[in-house]
Amino acid sequence: MSTTDQVREDVTIRFAGDSGDGMQLTGSLFTNTTALLGNDLRTLPEFPAEIRAPQGTVPGVSSFQLQFGSREILTPGDECDALVVMNSAALKANLSLLKKGGIIIANSAGFDKKNLNLAKYPEGVNPLEDDSLSDYELIKIDVNQMVKEALLEMNLSYKDQDRSKNMFVLGLLYWMYNRPMDSTINFLNKKFGKKPEIAEANIKVLKAGYYFGETAEIFSSRIIVKQAELKPGTYRNITGNEALVLGLVAAARKSNLPMFLGTYPITPASDVLHGLAKYKKFGITTFQAEDEIAACTSAIGASFGGSIGVTSSSGPGVALKGEAIGLAVMLELPLVVLNIQRAGPSTGMPTKTEQADLMQAVYGRNGESPLLIVAPKSPADCFEMAFEAVRISLEHMTPVIFLSDGYIANGSEPWKFPQSKDLKDIKIEFEGPRHQEDEPFMPYARDERLVRKWAIPGTAGIEHRVGGLEKEDVTGNVSYDPDNHQKMTNIRRDKRDNVANNIPLQDIDQGTEKGDILVLGWGGTYGSIKTVVHQLRKDGMDISHAHLRYINPFPRNLEKLMKGFKHIIVPEINDGQLVRLIRSEFLIHAQPINKVKGRPFGVKELKQAILDLVGEAVA
């Protein structure tokens, strides 16, 4: 039987297995190879919070989904065309995500009695052997046996053999989707440089998978996905947290300041620490503190000394930092607070995404405590918004909260990375020394934007004290004067509002400046909303999309822009937070679409929700 080539515009694949099966690595390697081929793509890694949840069980299943295509790809796909399952639990957990008629590649060794029991299939039932999967194209392969045979001459331990079985599946998929193996081979040689026999084994198994596809004649066609028509330029693939780290490093270099990250490990923000810890040569110090509070306060201490103070965390950690962030508001020092949001409240679902910390960011401190908020819209956008967070924090001497989420932090996409010369310079001037005959230094004197000077220790003649007690205007001395408190409260608010003059105006991402419906999103929902609005516009609907990346303060033209539409729809992965801000700030009847399932919006579900809302509005 000869295979034919079938050209497809987009493909969604999901790798699923036990958390020890290496599915995240398999998915990432497939992603990198696919990116290098020039496809557009989006990924969705999904894994349990436990490092090794009980083996073989449904809670222990780890998955990695990606959609890639020759068209613009903005979501990881609602349903998959192909599902790889390494064991029974992986099938059980993921079958509902597979299209009717889709391909299942199942490792039959993961469907023995023990695995079926662990996955809680009824006694005697094996889905690979009954007709329950007749709606799909089922390909059963005993991967364990294949690996054993491929490595027959290598005399490896059972454990090392077993660990390489993900490479078999990867090789097979490379064959199915016409991808070259060289990027993965390079990776394996590099990763196992010190253990060449392990590298060799993995490469052997990878190739075995590939050649199995070629010779086994189980596929009637190979799938071709051509290069996407992206904007011309040089691209790399990047995850949100990686882009965030690069944005911070770039901002540190462009301001020529040292950066100090004070942090405490927490999912899904720890990769920011791992990333920055590698870049010491760029003048970056990372401090793994004893807790979230020390993480934030150490960053404030560094900022007092003239470094860019950064602290990273997720919602529960940001809750602990609240008092310290308030201190930074009072001290009027730069501080960048990174919140990679996850599902809450409390510990919630650490590895699942959510956008429910917006109100926490806006209001989650004691007293009137205004600060700035930015939110990246996609993995690659984390670069620009991290850069922006540092820039406006330094330029306005105020804390900035950067609201990413687990979905874009771990997800990846192609990134047309900038040249350093094209990045804005961030100009910083410390207050200079003063002599006895000079006017005394006033720590809380301000410029026309209400920004005070950064006056760092080591500068003669400007010795001064700051603190969390209310400041007297101009002098910064402790003050309990009623009128002064009113004045300072107003100043801190106005200072925040003035930042609106230093951020871009809100644009319409897609659609018209005025019209019937405006979908207003923020943060990680960008890809889903953009895809849905594109489809609805194609269907003839008068609908537009605007996406907020600067939330506090809002862009100056936001109100005017919204008033050009009859209906405002605000989809969010929370129970309605931006929508409440919009309503209370502008008295506009914005309507929410909400989902809190720890997953991003699917295209179909979001489209339907919008249609339902519009239907109601018309009725």
């Binding site: 040089t234 690069l246 040292p258 401090f287 220790p457 004290r465």
Partner: protein, 359 residues
């Protein structure tokens, strides 16, 4: 080319100022703010002695930073004409760690109290000692919460009757020196507000130590816990009840220097000096001996107290050893990376390893 930030340049530029160090007097270190502690508070003496000690350090005012948490003592930075930060409750050690690690050129002092350091900030306090950041910590211990008007503190003795413990506190107190030694502190010392000369000496010793210097200062709260340390600090009872430690000297105390502490194995005992027991038989103080430091820190609750023997309360440096400083190590790592890892090429970083071209 390795990265030189604005701060690197700044520090280099301002290093020159050191050579032209003014001839400071203690008054130069007093700020223009009115001191707002209660009349008779022990804090006044400590402030005075810190201001007296400062001109001796040989450090420019611009390079000195006082960081405090919350509580009566934490108002301290406002009264010093140096850089200062009155921060939030318990967090001064963490703020100081961030500042000192990013700016090792500065001389950083932490001002804290028993509530601030041993309760809400006990985590940061112990972690600071463990890391041995090169800062000086002055722990004003008055065994009470003053600013919140008189609740028992984690250093208050069990049984103390306060507003929050009308039937007597059932909390077992921390022993700040034992806690510091347990946290692997490299400099652990005690002074008292009522002996300004010794206090100043201890402040200077704290400054000279490379690493975290933990100086506990017995400080009388005249309003909520008056006389808590009177036994040790009152001129009449002090000779019998207190002992001043001096490196290489035997542990002698008493009005007529007629008593001493002897070691019987690992058990200390109080002895009367006479013809048969002389100074040569006594325990000789060794700041670098951690076992002895632990014994000294436990003098007020030693098991042998059970038979009625009272040990004198030790003042002075219990323990002082050298260990690498966290801040210096961090800076060295960054410097090493700058020197050995090649050029800090932002464009190479942005492009990463694998890229592709779209035409």
């Amino acid at each position: 080319m390795s990265v030189e930030t604005l701060i690197d340049n700044f520090v280099k530029e301002h290093e020159a100022d050191l050579t032209a160090l003014p001839d400071y007097s203690s008054k130069d270190f007093a700020s223009d703010q009115d001191v707002r502690w209660c009349p008779g508070c022990g804090d006044y003496t400590i402030l005075k002695q810190v201001q007296n000690a400062m001109p001796v350090l040989g450090i420019a005012k611009k390079d000195i930073v006082f960081i405090s948490g919350i509580g009566c003592s934490s108002r301290f930075p406002y009264y010093m004409d140096t850089f200062g930060m009155h921060s939030i409750h318990g967090r001064a050690p963490a703020i100081a760690t961030g500042l000192k690690t990013s700016r090792p050129d500065l001389t950083v002092w932490i001002i804290t109290g028993d509530g601030d350091a041993l309760s809400i900030g006990a985590n940061h306090f112990t972690q600071l000692l463990r890391r041995n950041v090169n800062v000086n910590l002055l722990l004003f211990n008055n065994e009470i919460y003053g600013l919140t008007k008189g609740q028992y503190s984690p250093a208050s003795p069990s049984g103390i009757v306060t507003k929050s413990s009308p039937f007597g506190s059932i909390d077992h107190p921390f022993n700040p020196l034992a806690l510091s030694l347990g946290a692997d502190g490299t400099f652990v010392a005690r002074a008292m507000d009522r002996d300004p000369k010794h206090l100043k000496e201890m402040i200077l010793r704290s400054h000279r130590h490379q690493g975290t210097s933990m100086l506990e200062i017995y400080q009388n709260c005249i309003v909520f816990n008056d006389g808590a340390f009177e036994l040790f600090t009152d001129k009449k009872s002090r000779p019998q009840e207190s002992i001043y430690l001096e490196q290489g000297q035997p542990l002698v105390f008493g009005k007529e220097n007629d008593k001493g502490v002897r070691l019987n194995g690992l058990m200390p005992e109080v002895v009367e000096l006479n013809d048969t027991i002389t100074k040569d038989d006594l325990w000789v103080h060794d700041e670098q001996d951690s076992t002895k430091a632990h014994l000294l820190s436990r003098f007020f609750e030693h098991p042998s107290n059970g038979d009625g023997v009272k040990f004198p309360r030790p003042f002075g440096v219990l323990y002082a050893v050298d260990r690498p400083n966290y801040d210096k190590e961090v800076v060295a790592q960054v410097q090493h990376a700058k020197e050995t890892q090649g050029e800090a090429d932002l464009d190479a970083l942005l492009s990463g390893g694998e890229t592709w071209e779209v035409k």
